[in-house]
């Protein structure tokens, strides 16, 4: 698995977005989970909540750190990942698939363009382009 998959968009605060039509899946990146260490707790908004781009969406905690998750895009929460709330270690073991956080109905597809490309995110976290693959 790549540490910065090529099919996603990224925020500077280390969230990723996978857009599928007008539904976007949101999670935190491999880099973010590595910085946090073992994730012990995830707090996510209820279904039906609306989130605004760059505002706080939830919280992810390790034993010795707590970080806000910022919404990389705006929209209405369609679903939250109950499995990740029950088993926060999924954020560590599979941040891009089973460790996803919420699915959101995109309010403004234009916001996606404001996010970082995989290449930009790699340079943001200090990786040289293309060197992100395991």
């Amino acid at each position: 698995m790549s540490t910065v998959p090529d099919d996603l968009r990224y925020s500077k605060e280390h969230e990723w977005v996978r857009a599928d039509g007008d539904v976007a899946t949101i999670g935190i990146t491999h880099f973010a989970q590595e910085q946090l260490g073992d994730v012990v707790f995830v707090e996510l908004p209820e279904k039906g909540a609306t989130v605004r781009q760059y505002s706080s969406l939830g919280v992810v905690e390790s034993v010795k750190a707590a970080s806000d998750i910022y919404a990389p895009i705006s929209g209405e929460v369609l679903e939250r990942n109950v499995k990740v709330i029950e088993s926060p270690e999924l954020v560590n073991t599979d941040p891009y698939r089973d460790g996803w956080m919420v699915k959101v109905r995109l309010a403004d597809k234009g916001e996606l363009a404001k996010l970082l490309s995989p290449a930009d995110y790699r340079s943001h976290i200090g990786e040289t382009a293309g060197a992100g693959a395991d």
């Binding site: 073992d38 012990v40 707790f41 905690e61 390790s62 034993v63 010795k64 926060p88 270690e89």
Partner: protein, 504 residues
């Protein structure tokens, strides 16, 4: 627990590790009990209020309870057992006479009349005077029960001060340095303030330019620990205080590191408007495995009107009473006071111990204490500096911060080094604080450790540094000679078990 004398600077023989102890609940059997109180009374309680919920407290005999807590005690490290170099915690020796005299004041209720507690009031009054002299402040409140409560009290005082000047609504921000204890921003937030963090400069001081640009008419105060959490004296402390005052804000002194200043300098002479004292650090009161403490708040005259009430008043005839609780005539009003934090005199049992320590040391002992604390820290740093990186290479005061960044690259982190120290018979330093130093190890030896112990500690630190180089895995595997190996904090947080549950 490994037992070492700390006098012989080599690797001592490891003694048997004490066995773990079952929980009280696991030792209990229905029907066991002691006979500590009379049991022949019948209580008349209306049925609707009576307890119907079962009460499954453990049933034990006294000999079992004594063994249980004796065994638990044996699982603990303590200052009585050895050096406790936790930076910012000032784990100095806790004199035993202090505990004994505290028991002379055990059977007194805080709601007794002042007429029946003149000894309490005389002691507290003199303690206030002594604290004012030591800190260079004018007035003292003994009410706060710990450092953090004193911070909160002081910020309430700041709020009241600004309110009196009609500026409460505009001054909504508190500034803290990035090296501050977590309690500082937490107290500010609890007091309804927004928190602005300013960075430290390359010498470990508050970045004066950053501070100046953060200051403005919306700032209520600045919280400063001096010496700071790097163990460094703020080189431009007067300019810092002047800048804050220039903006109409107040300077709060976090007194966690006051031990360094005993006889060396007084916050009141440096520009602070107030400072709190952790008597469980500076004035030798035992920390009780996490508490109690006491956190007297010492202020300059301009903040006095806002201090918590009641205040102790001394009459010309040498008698004492409380200003807002006079019993012989109409009491004084609350005036501009913020109110009450704790009825009357806070954690008096702790304050008696601090008072006793101060009476024991006296003027000259107090002056000597700061010097010896600083001497010990600088000596220990001199012994360690070729093995560990020094975070800010300046002359420290009573504590210093090393970085285990080099060892981390070799494969052993600050945490690992701390754990390896446990195997050497020492407590770990404070690790990962302050936050601005990577792999921080904050070491405070205090003035009460003999040179042989400092040498032994340095030798242990060096051995660990050498192992980090040659065999980092062995450091990572520590501790091996403690009652338990490393504990799984991740599982503890993921699946919290916060109380014993009866098997169903």
């Amino acid at each position: 627990m490994t037992v070492r004398t700390h006098v012989i600077p080599d690797v001592g023989a490891k003694t048997a590790v004490p066995a773990l102890e079952p929980l009280l609940f696991e030792l209990a059997r229905p029907g066991r009990s002691g006979r500590h109180v009379v049991s022949d009374d019948a209580a008349d309680i209306p049925a609707a209020f009576q307890r119907k919920t079962p009460l499954h407290l453990p049933e034990l005999t006294e000999p079992q309870v004594v063994r249980h807590y004796t065994h638990l005690a044996q699982l603990n490290y303590s200052v009585d057992a050895g050096m406790y170099p936790l930076g910012s915690c000032t784990m100095k020796y806790n004199p035993k006479v202090n505990d004994r005299v505290a028991s002379l004041f055990a059977d007194l209720h805080p709601r007794q009349s002042y007429r029946t507690t003149q000894g309490v009031l005389a002691l507290a009054y003199e303690l206030e005077q002594m604290l004012a002299k030591i800190t260079g402040m004018d007035f003292v409140s003994l009410q706060p029960q710990a450092g953090a409560q004193s911070e909160f009290t002081a910020l309430l005082v700041f709020k009241a001060y600004h309110a009196k000047r009609g500026e409460a609504a505009t001054r909504r921000r508190i500034i803290v340095p990035d090296s501050a204890h977590g309690t500082n921003p937490a107290s500010a937030a609890m007091c309804g303030y927004q928190v602005t963090t300013v960075k430290s400069d390359a010498r470990g001081n508050v970045d004066l330019d950053a501070l100046k640009s953060a200051l403005g008419p919306d700032v209520a105060g600045f919280m400063l620990t001096n010496p700071n959490t790097l163990g460094l004296f703020e080189e431009r402390v007067r300019e810092v205080c002047d800048a804050v005052h220039g903006a109409g804000a107040l300077v709060y002194g976090d007194g966690a590191n006051m031990n360094a200043l005993l006889g060396i300098a007084r916050p009141g002479d440096l520009g602070f408007d107030c400072v709190h004292i952790n008597v469980h650090k500076t004035f030798s009161t035992p920390h009780g495995a996490g508490g109690p403490g006491a956190g007297p708040l010492c202020v300059k005259a301009h903040l006095r009107p806002f201090l918590p009430k009641p205040w102790i008043v001394r009459e010309a005839d040498g008698s004492y009473h409380y200003d807002t609780a006079r019993e012989d005539r109409a009491p004084a009003g609350l005036g501009d006071s913020i109110g009450t934090i704790k009825q009357r005199i806070g954690n008096f049992g702790v304050l008696v111990r601090a008072y006793t320590y101060m009476k024991t040391l006296g003027e000259d002992g107090m002056l000597e204490t700061g010097r010896d604390a600083i001497l010990a820290a600088n000596y220990l740093l001199a012994l360690l500096r070729d093995k560990y990186d020094v975070a800010y290479d300046r002359t420290p005061m009573h504590e210093f911060v090393l970085s285990a960044a080099k060892q981390k690259r070799q494969g052993a982190s600050a945490l690992d080094i701390g754990k390896a120290l446990l195997d050497e018979g020492f407590h770990s330093p404070t690790v990962y604080f302050p936050l601005i130093v990577a792999e921080a190890m904050m070491i405070e030896p205090t003035e009460t450790e003999p040179r042989e112990t400092l040498d032994a500690f340095a030798a242990a630190m060096k051995r660990i540094a050498e192992r980090a180089e040659s065999d980092p895995a062995s450091v990572k595997a520590a501790p091996k000679y403690t009652p338990l190996a490393r504990l799984d904090e991740v599982t503890a947080a993921r699946k919290p078990v916060l109380r014993w549950q009866r098997p169903v």
